[in-house]
Symmetry: C2
Subunit: 315 residues, 2 copies
């Protein structure tokens, strides 16, 4: 069993590649919930939904969120009624939020609801929230501390970032299915997807038992760089790195993760960085990391798995 840590689009794409490369019993995808929020009275889990829709083949490739072939009649009517429309919810997508909210109110936990939805949508691999506890990313910016979606969607990542806080992380334990995978010997290795290290992966690693698992070096950890040739493939990672005073390169990301990661999959365009990464103690695999098709996602996933097994073989 391989455990992947994933956030939004980049994470979902590698997760779908891993799902093509590995049998259902061989892969679990733990997903960030720091982006989750309550909006219009609904419990919304953007990263879980992006991973779920992508694994079900329902994702909207243009937006990077929501479903393909979506309609917007709910939203149009909400606008007419004077409701809040800065966070867009499609008619089909809405069913996930309404049903999730209802089940949470009825006492179900997020991991059980997610498993049920995934089964209903025909997803064979395990998808699990990193925690069932409330964990909310808050962004320190030059416009003050903002709730994640205020920063990310409403203000389109425009405020300059100076740091993050993960509300609830102190007491958040791993979700029950994740806790099982953190038992000794349960997983062969761990893949950190090319999700935003600060916005998507950091909230997950703020769950103490998951972070301790990585630090314990019980299983090899490989990561795929979300920065290629000095730019983020998608999203605000490079902008955030500049604002935090971090070098906007794969090397900046490698240094950010430090000793938590044993092996790096970086893009061929960044081949010149390989010696510095190797001298820092990590194994490296070079490949084309842009996952613009399922085939390419599968190939990147294969490189990550091979690198992980290579590292395991040298231990």
């Amino acid at each position: 069993m391989i455990l992947a840590l994933a956030g939004g689009v980049g994470g979902a794409r590698l997760a779908s590649g891993l799902a093509l490369a590995l049998a259902p019993g061989e892969l679990a995808v733990a997903v960030n919930v720091g982006d989750d929020f309550e909006h219009l009275g609904l419990s919304i889990s953007p990263d879980l939904d992006t991973v779920m829709y992508t694994l079900a083949g329902m994702q909207n490739p243009e937006t990077g969120w929501g479903r393909a072939g979506e309609t917007w009649h709910f939203m149009e009517t909400l606008a007419r009624l004077g409701g809040d429309i800065w966070f867009r919810l499609g008619d089909r997508d809405l069913a996930v939020h309404v049903e999730r909210t209802r089940r949470l109110r009825d006492g179900d936990v997020l991991s059980a609801i997610t498993a049920s939805f995934c089964a209903r949508l025909g997803i064979a691999h395990a998808v699990l929230p990193v925690t069932d506890a409330p964990l909310r990313t808050r962004v320190n910016t030059d416009a003050g501390e903002l709730a994640f979606q205020e920063y990310f969607v409403r203000r389109r990542c425009e405020p300059a970032v100076s740091g993050f806080r993960f509300d609830g992380a102190d007491t958040a334990g791993p979700s029950a299915p994740l806790a099982q995978l953190l038992e000794p010997g349960a997983i062969e290795g761990l893949v950190i997807c090319p999700s935003n290290p600060w916005l998507s992966i950091a909230p997950m690693l703020a769950v103490a038992r998951l972070r301790a698992f990585l630090e314990s070096k019980q299983a090899p950890v490989v990561a795929v760089s979300p920065i290629v040739a000095g730019s983020a493939v998608k999203g605000p990672a490079a902008k955030i790195m500049r604002e935090l005073g971090i070098e906007t390169s794969a090397l900046g990301v490698v240094r950010h993760y430090g000793a938590l990661v044993d092996g790096w999959v970086i893009d061929k365009l960044d081949a010149a960085l390989e010696p510095a990464i190797v001298s820092g103690g990590c194994a490296v695999a070079l490949t084309d990391t842009i996952m613009s098709s399922p085939d390419k996602s599968r190939r990147v996933a294969g490189e990550a798995i091979s690198l992980m097994r290579r590292i395991a073989g040298t231990r």
Copy 2:
């Protein structure tokens, strides 16, 4: 100012006729909330919405509920996720429920939310819930006591009815805009729409101050019979009358309301009943009461207003 009491489809049709016949400042429509319920975590007010959609010209004439030209992508997805689909919510309709629920949670009252929605949808006449307090119709049947929508939608009115209970009616005051209209001299008269007397009008009259207003005879009260030639125009009224042992005719309805009503608009098909109604002390107007077009609704409304003014002139 004329005050109309309305429930579902028949009430909405007469209300729209009254709205064609009277200027915005001359009509207020008080609406039943006994059908309201919480479903999928949403606060749903079926009668308020039927009146609102009808006055806005958005109603679905085939179903008698919901909007014309509706789409069902939310519901299709909810079914796929294993959610509850016995109460159908269209994609556009859903915006009303989500936004209403949000505002109620934020502390707004139903009458203020209704006024805001109606203004947004271009409705010039006042539409108001009979009460802002929770008032819920419960139906005693041969299948036990059922919540209203359990009886009405889920079980399609199949269980035999033996009585009703209006939960919350003991303490429910009229909504603030209705309370204003019940002040002495505020209204010229009152029209009871051809809504189901037991399911739609009785819960409204269970609000003590409204019932006391009718009993005080401060203003003439006219009603339009929902029973024509021994049948209900729509819905289960005739079935319920049979189950309660009441004669299924306009006369049965006249006797049910008793001294609360001063004048009756009945269908020409029921002309033979006129002497019995008149001998009971009520004025009568005979007309074609089937409101199959806006013109016909306007004409029935005109008959009700004329009858009301005729009664006022004889006092």
